[in-house]
Every structure is written in structure tokens, then in C-alpha cells.
């Protein structure tokens, strides 16, 4: 049996008295795209730092490809590409120097792929990293990560602070590359619309706890917005779990989390699928 590309078991991270990540367990299968969602301060970045071996969990363990990431980080990073939340290469380095340095570190470094992306992003190789715009920095980080031919790509909020065009460009790069290769991706993002089409599995962190971890298709299938010409209790009678409900004319509009085709039979009701963003708001939006 193939080990999961990412395996987190009971990971807990504390900063003083505050618990940033609370007993989180998750698996990412090889070749899957895992979207890790959560509001600001939900613990996404702390969890990602644990997944990358940057931070040792106070409890629990993380393995990448079956190996402990804290102990084997150096070896594992040969197989992992990272685009971090803040693009953080040394600011005085020129883009070409960054590539040269990476080329020394990664035996599988693909200079051609890097050069191609650089020209597509229209960034001069002689530019200093610190002088680039935020979007260009992210593009460079992505180009560097992808040129290492990673088996696992970890993207920590890669669209944070980017404009719409840059966001689109970045996701297209990911998607384009995914089309070429079946690499595993773990992405944390606030850009739910962009990730919706590529995510195989979705995890939602709320106050440090993983409150949802499910296949994207299943998730979308069971979350529905339902409008019914009756009071809310009728939904409970039909064994439907209501996440939230409000008056809608003389009837009720509710979000149900265990929708099935037969549940609304006999009622004057209709249902509508929900976007990932709506599901996220339903799950993580309320305190």
C-alpha cells in the first residue's frame, strides 16, 4: 500500500497559552489536490509549517511520503516544492542567482522549465528579488518550486495580496502544470473560487480544529441550500441536518449538510447546489 504523500496525526501547536492547531489529523493521497481552508488565524500557516518540518508540533507527528518530516526534512525537501505565504527569498538576490543556487541544491533541477516560466511571467533574470512586485515574487517562488520537479507542492496562501489577474495567472500555472504531471498539491487559500475547480479534497480549519475533511464532490453533494414552503421544523422531521435557517417569505430557507434526493419528497420545496465559498461560510463563518 502506498503511503500518503502527507500524513498528519494528532498535530497540536501551541504558542504560549494559545492553541493554534488542535489535534489535527489529515491525509493527502499521492496525486491529489488538497485545499486547506480556514479564516485568518484558524491555524493554516502553523499547520503548513508543521507539514514542512519548519515547526515541531507540541504533540503529534507529520510524515511526508512515509518519513518523519521533522527528522528527515533535508532529504524530503528534495521532493517538495514550496510557495510560502510571504515570498521570502533574500531580497538582494537576483532572480538568476536564485535559480543558480537552486540548481546546485536540486539534482533534478529543470533550468529550461524555469526559463520558460520566467519569460512567460515577463520577469528579467537580472532583477533583484526585493525589487519585484508582490505578484512577481509569487511567480518567481512558483517557478522556482516547479523547476525542482517536485512530487509534492505545498502552496501556503499563494494568492494573498495578489490582484485578480495575478491570481488567475498563478492558478493557471498550477493547473497547467497539473495537466502535465500528476503531482500532489496541498494548498491553503482564501481564493475559494479558484481552488474549487482543482481541489479533490477539502479540509476546513476552525479555531485550530479540523472541522471538515472530505472529498470535494461528496462535500458539494451533501451541502445544499433548500427552500421549503413550511416552517423549519419540517426539515428535521425529514432527518435533514440544518446548518442554518432563516425565514423566506412564508416558508424557510436553510442550508442542510446531509442532503439526499429523496429527502424533500412530499414537500413543496426546491434545492440548489452550493459553491465551495458558500459551504466554507456555512462551516467556518460563524463563531
Amino acid at each position: 500500500m502506498t503511503a500518503p504523500a502527507v500524513h498528519a496525526a494528532n498535530v497540536t501547536v501551541r504558542y504560549g497559552r494559545r492553541t493554534a492547531v488542535d489535534n489535527v489529523s489529515l491525509d493527502v493521497a499521492p496525486g491529489a489536490v488538497y485545499a486547506l481552508l480556514g479564516r485568518n488565524g484558524a491555524g493554516k500557516s502553523s499547520l503548513v509549517r508543521c507539514l514542512l518540518g519548519h515547526l515541531r508540533p507540541d504533540r503529534g507527528a507529520v510524515t511526508l511520503f512515509g518519513e518523519d518530516v521533522w527528522r528527515e526534512r533535508t532529504k524530503l525537501m528534495l521532493r517538495v516544492g514550496v510557495v510560502s505565504e510571504e515570498a521570502d527569498a533574500p531580497p538582494h538576490s537576483r532572480v538568476r542567482d536564485l535559480a543558480d543556487f537552486s540548481a546546485k541544491l536540486y539534482p533534478q533541477w529543470n533550468q529550461r522549465a524555469f526559463d520558460d516560466r520566467l519569460s512567460r511571467f515577463d520577469i528579467a533574470p537580472g532583477a533583484r528579488f526585493g525589487e519585484l512586485s508582490k505578484g512577481q515574487k509569487k511567480q518567481i517562488a512558483l517557478a522556482l518550486a516547479l523547476a525542482t520537479s517536485p512530487e509534492l507542492l505545498i502552496l501556503d496562501d499563494p494568492t494573498l495580496g495578489l490582484d485578480v489577474v495575478a491570481r488567475k495567472s498563478l492558478f493557471e500555472e498550477v493547473i497547467a502544470d497539473l495537466a502535465d504531471r500528476g503531482i500532489t498539491i496541498l494548498i491553503t487559500t482564501h481564493d475559494l473560487a479558484s481552488v474549487e475547480s482543482i481541489a479533490d479534497r477539502v479540509g476546513i480549519l476552525k479555531d485550530g480544529r479540523l472541522v471538515l475533511d472530505e472529498e470535494a464532490e461528496t462535500l458539494k453533494a451533501r451541502f445544499r441550500r433548500v427552500r421549503v414552503a413550511a416552517a423549519a421544523p419540517v426539515l428535521a422531521e425529514k432527518q435533514l441536518a440544518v446548518a442554518s435557517a432563516r425565514a423566506w417569505g412564508s416558508g424557510t430557507e436553510a442550508i442542510v449538510t446531509n442532503y439526499n434526493e429523496t429527502a424533500l419528497e412530499g414537500l413543496r420545496a426546491d434545492s440548489a447546489p452550493m459553491s465551495l465559498e458558500e459551504i466554507f461560510i456555512a462551516v467556518a463563518g460563524e463563531k
Binding site: 515547526l55 517538495v80 510560502s84 521570502d88 527569498a89 533574500p90 538582494h92 538576490s93 541544491l105
Partner: protein, 608 residues
């Protein structure tokens, strides 16, 4: 290692501008010679300016790069870049440190090498040609870099751990002071200090490996890991040093096989012995020893700085180096019967002259330009008088209420009169009682037991101790005088070198007439003291002499009344009061006192 070198090369390339700036600065010393205000020798201006500039830039860069090498990346959250690559923490620290140090050294070299090339002779004249100056600079750069990194990590984190660091600094300082105490002023002190400093630098250099391995991208966890490594490392160094110091200082006089200093009071009831036990070379500790009971107590008298005894045998006094500031040393008085030490409450530098009154109730202390008399019981100042700082002073109590002071201003002249004054402790007045002509540098006067006579050793004349009036000029005085002294009753003894391994001792009557002359089997015969039964104790030295085994030394006992060498103790060293005592009167030993001496095996023994 190759990864570390790549990181170093990358960092050095990134700092290329610094080398350009250094190259521009290298021109400054040469341009400075064009300034009309520069004046003087052109080579001097170049070497002076170039040297200062190079040192300032090298040290400043080392400290600055230490502050920024890792700390800046941590605080601006750029460490993710490094830890997202297949780079070990060890390679990262090694690479960053190599780059920073190379940059500092290179900038220093860029600025100073042109100076060296163009004004080599002036450089050699100004800074010398030995390797110590560049080695010291390189060492300083390394230390500044490491301290910069440590401070940067600790202070940037703004973590509560800072409180623990502060507490650890205080604890370590106290521990270091406690460690220093037993070995202060001993030969092992500096080697221990340098070894510990070296180990501390090693800890500073190694701790960041642990810091980055455990803290990685998190600033506070970096701080925690660094503190953990630093204080564990420092703790181990201090603990090891503590074990060494404990072991070194566990030697007791009974186990000493190397005695370098021995002093004894007049009735033989107290011995101060400095030396070391087997395998503990380097810690020459001083102990106060009670020969009757064998009890010993470590006292902090630096060897050879000596102890002053009161002639009633009750007290000893010495200057003990301060724990925190060596210049702030304390005068300690020991009650020899009780075996208790106490601070007199007088701060004085090492080398301060101490003289007791005969009854042990008062002590005169000369400290720089003031000569004060203190009450031994309560440390109260009884009276003071100013003295000329750059003059030779000797003082002694005539009675418990009168201190006599002989002062010779020696300004390089052939003749320098000695002024004699008395400080009356009842009226607290100083009065000049006489002067006497003397050759310059009479430094070590000898005074009779009652203070009424004074022997000018260099001139071999005896003068009145109060008025300075000439009493006698010793006959047959020549240039071979090794040592001389006035006996308790006013007679004089002079030891002269005769032949290769023999000397002559002449005993003179009170009127200066030679009474006896005898040959001693020693090249040099130092007068140690006088016994109350009229016997003179001398330490004879015959070449070649060996301090440790007392080989070549002998204690000689001369009957001054009969002019006979009565006893010879071969391969023996006796108590050496002449080293330390500031009292110009000859040490008086009871006839029945057992004299402490060091035998051939380096062991202490007693004889009468």
C-alpha cells in the same frame, strides 16, 4: 560542506557592494596626506589612518553581520526560504558564518593591505611585526560576530525567555566570580581564564547549530533553543571549571610538596604557607596554619605579597584582593589565637605597607599619599599624615602612641637626605625630628628593636633613629654587601659575599667596632631573624639552587655573642619574613619557638 560553501558564496556575492565601499575607504588614508592639516610624516598618517579605519570597519562589520546574518531573516520571516530547501541547519549556519567572517576579514584586508604595501616600515614600527596583532583582530572579529548573532536572536524575539537569560547571566557571573576567588593571583588563573574564554567562544559558535536545528523558522523557538544551548554549554564549562578549581584547591599544606613562600610569627604559633599539592601545579594557594593543632585555613594572600605580624604575636594582617575589583583590595586582620579573620574596613591596593604597633592594638597603613594609623579593634582612624607619594617611606612604632617615619626623596641624585618625623597619635600632630645625609635609594633601612638606631644599609652607617645624628660608620664596608641588619640591641650584622660559595658575616658592637667575623658556607646569606637567645637565623644559598627541593639552600644559626656558626640545616629553606614585612625591625623569634622550614622533599617541618 559543499552546501555551506554555496550558501557562503551566495552571501558573499550578495555583499559585493561592501567590498567596493572598502576599496573606496582604502584610498582615504592616502588622500588624507593631501590635507593641509595632516602634517607630520606621510607614512605615519597613512599607517595611523589606515590602521584605525581597517580595524573599525573590520570589527564593525563583524558585529553588524552578526546582528543580521540570521536574526534579520528570522525577524522578517525569511527563514522559510532556507528551510524549504534541502539545506541542513548546520550548513546554513556554517555558510552564513563563513560569509560574514570572510566579508569582515576581506574588507579589513582591502583597507589595510595598501597601507602595508606603501608604508611597510611605518606599519612595523607602529604595530610591530609579530602575529599577535592580526590574530587578536581576527579573534575579536569572530567573537564580535558570534556575540552579535547571539544578541540579535535574543533581543529580536522579545520573548519572556529574556528574563531567564538575564537570570542566567547573573548566575553565571556569580559562579565565575566564585570560581575566580580561589585561584585569583595564582599562576593557574590566566590559563584557566583563557581556557574558559575559549570554551565560551566555542559554545557561542556551536549553539547556533542547535538553535537552527530546533528553532528553524520560528524566532521565539530559535531564541529558546539558542538559550538552551548557550546556557547548557556555559553551564557545562563552568561546572567543569568548578570541578577543576575544587580539585586544585583541595590541596592542603600537609600534602604540599612545593612550597614557594613561608612566613611565621615570632612565637611560632602561626605559619603562612603558600604552595601546591602534587599534580596541582599552578594553584599556589596560601594557608594560615596552626602548627600546634595542624589546622589550616585558606587565606587569600597572594603569594609574595606577604603578611605583617604584630610583635606581641597576636595578629597578622595582609591585603586581600577584592572579589569584584582587584584594585579595591581589603585589609584583613587575623586574630592568630582565635583563627578568625575580619575586614579592618580599609580599602587599599595590593602592595600597601602595613606595620603593627608592638602591642598589636594599632596598625599603620600607607596608602598612596596618606599614612594612617588605625585602631585594630574597631578599624577607627586614630591619626593620619600626608606623605610624599613618589618617595621611599619606612615607618615603625616607637611606642603605641608614636609612629616614626623615615622619608627619602630620591630623585636620581647621588645624595638624598632622609627626613625623620614622628606622628604623635595623642595630639595627632606630625613633627620633623631630624634629618640625615644619605646616599640615594636607601630603601631598606634597618632599625633597632627600640627604634633608637637606624642602619643606612647602602652607606653602612648607623644613625640616631630620632635625630639622624651619626653614631658610627661601619668599618671595612665594601661593595660586596649582600644583606645587613640592626639587631634588637642595636648591634649590627653585615653579610658580604667572599668567594664563589662562601660569604662573611661580620658582627659590630653598638659603637660600630667589629666584634666577630665568620665565614659562612653559602654564596649569599640572607638574614631571616633574630632569636631571643641571641642567635641569628640566616638563609644561605649555594649555587646551583633548586627552589622546589630546597637544594642549595641551608638554614644557618649563628651565635652572635660568640661569633660562631652554631648549626647548619642543609637543603632547607626557612621562613622568609624579609620579603613581606614593612617593619624595618628585624623579625624576633622566641628562643623556644619551633621554626617552620621547607626540607629537601619540599615538605614543611619544624625545628628548634
Amino acid at each position: 560542506m559543499s552546501t555551506a560553501l554555496w550558501i557562503a558564496a551566495r552571501d558573499v556575492r550578495e555583499k559585493g557592494r561592501l567590498f567596493l565601499i572598502a576599496a573606496v575607504l582604502a584610498c582615504m588614508p592616502f588622500l588624507a596626506t593631501l590635507l593641509p592639516t595632516a602634517g607630520g610624516n606621510r607614512a605615519d598618517v597613512i599607517t595611523g589612518f589606515g590602521g584605525i579605519l581597517g580595524i573599525a570597519v573590520g570589527l564593525g562589520l563583524a558585529a553588524g553581520l552578526g546582528l543580521s546574518a540570521i536574526g534579520a531573516d528570522l525577524s522578517s520571516r525569511r527563514m522559510t526560504y532556507w528551510f524549504s530547501q534541502p539545506i541542513t541547519p548546520a550548513a546554513l549556519w556554517t555558510g552564513k558564518a563563513l560569509a560574514a567572517l570572510f566579508t569582515s576579514f576581506a574588507c579589513f584586508a582591502i583597507i589595510t593591505i595598501p597601507t602595508l604595501l606603501f608604508a611597510r616600515t611605518a606599519v612595523v614600527l607602529r604595530y610591530g611585526e609579530n602575529w599577535q596583532v592580526p590574530a587578536l583582530l581576527i579573534g575579536s572579529m569572530v567573537i564580535l560576530f558570534l556575540l552579535g548573532h547571539t544578541a540579535s536572536t535574543i533581543f529580536r524575539s522579545r520573548s519572556p525567555i529574556l528574563g531567564i537569560d538575564l537570570a542566567a547571566v547573573i548566575l553565571a557571573s556569580v559562579a565565575m566570580a566564585m570560581l575566580a576567588r580561589p585561584i585569583l593571583f595564582t599562576p593557574i588563573f590566566l590559563p584557566m581564564l583563557f581556557t574558559m574564554a575559549g570554551l565560551f567562544v566555542l559554545v557561542l559558535a556551536v549553539a547556533p547549530f542547535w538553535q537552527l536545528a530546533k528553532g528553524r523558522t520560528d524566532l521565539r523557538r530559535n531564541h529558546a533553543a539558542l538559550s538552551q544551548a548557550l546556557w547548557s554549554g556555559f553551564g557545562i564549562v563552568i561546572a567543569l571549571a568548578g570541578i577543576v578549581v575544587l580539585w586544585l584547591s583541595s590541596g592542603r599544606p600537609a600534602s604540599f610538596d612545593r612550597i614557594i613562600e613561608l612566613q611565621q610569627n615570632g612565637n611560632g604559633s602561626a605559619v603562612f604557607v603558600a604552595g601546591s599539592a602534587p599534580y596541582r601545579r599552578g594553584l599556589d594557594a596560601t594557608f594560615a596554619l596552626n602548627p600546634a593543632t595542624g589546622a589550616s585555613e585558606r587565606v587569600y594572600v597572594p603569594p609574595f605579597w606577604g603578611v605583617a605580624f604584630s610583635r606581641d604575636h597576636r595578629f597578622a594582617a595582609w591585603v586581600e584582593p577584592g572579589l569584584w575589583r582587584w584594585s579595591q583590595s581589603e585589609v584583613i586582620v587575623r586574630d592568630l589565637a582565635k583563627g578568625e579573620n575580619r575586614q579592618l574596613g580599609v580599602i587599599a591596593p595590593l602592595g600597601t605597607s602595613l606595620v603593627f604597633a608592638d602591642d598589636g592594638t594599632r596598625i599603620a597603613i600607607r596608602n598612596a599619599a596618606t599614612l594612617s594609623v588605625y585602631d585594630v579593634a574597631d578599624g577607627r582612624v586614630v591619626a593620619s599624615m600626608p606623605v610624599v607619594q613618589n618617595a621611599s617611606h619606612q615607618f615603625w612604632f616607637v611606642t603605641r602612641d608614636v609612629l616614626r617615619v623615615a622619608t627619602q626623596l630620591s630623585r636620581g641624585r647621588e645624595e638624598a637626605p632622609i627626613e625623620i618625623a614622628e606622628l604623635d597619635l595623642r595630639t595627632k600632630r606630625r613633627r620633623v625630628t631630624g634629618t640625615t645625609a644619605a646616599g640615594a635609594r636607601q630603601r631598606f633601612l634597618s632599625v633597632s628593636g627600640d627604634g633608637s638606631r637606624m642602619l643606612l644599609r647602602a652607606d653602612t652607617t648607623i644613625v640616631d633613629g630620632r635625630t639622624g645624628a651619626l653614631i658610627a660608620k661601619l668599618p671595612e664596608a665594601d661593595g660586596n654587601i649582600m644583606t645587613s641588619a640592626l639587631l634588637n640591641d642595636g648591634r649590627a650584622v653585615v653579610s658580604r659575599r667572599a668567594q664563589k660559595n662562601s660569604s662573611t658575616l661580620t658582627i659590630y658592637a653598638q659603637d660600630g667596632a667589629a666584634q666577630h667575623a665568620l665565614t659562612l658556607p653559602a654564596r649569599v646569606a640572607w638574614i631571616i631573624g633574630e632569636r631571643t637567645d641571641g642567635k641569628l637565623l640566616l638563609l644561605g644559598v649555594t649555587w646551583p639552587a633548586n627552589d622546589l627541593e630546597s637544594r642549595g639552600y641551608q638554614v644557618l644559626l649563628v651565635d652572635v655573642n660568640r661569633g660562631k656558626l652554631e648549626r647548619t640545616l642543609p637543603d632547607t629553606r626557612g621562613p622568609s619574613s624579609f620579603w613581606a614585612s614593612n617593619d624595618p625591625r628585624l623579625m624576633q623569634y622566641d628562643a623556644k619557638a619551633k621554626i617552620a622550614s621547607v626540607g629537601k622533599n619540599g615538605k614543611l617541618f619544624y625545628w628548634n
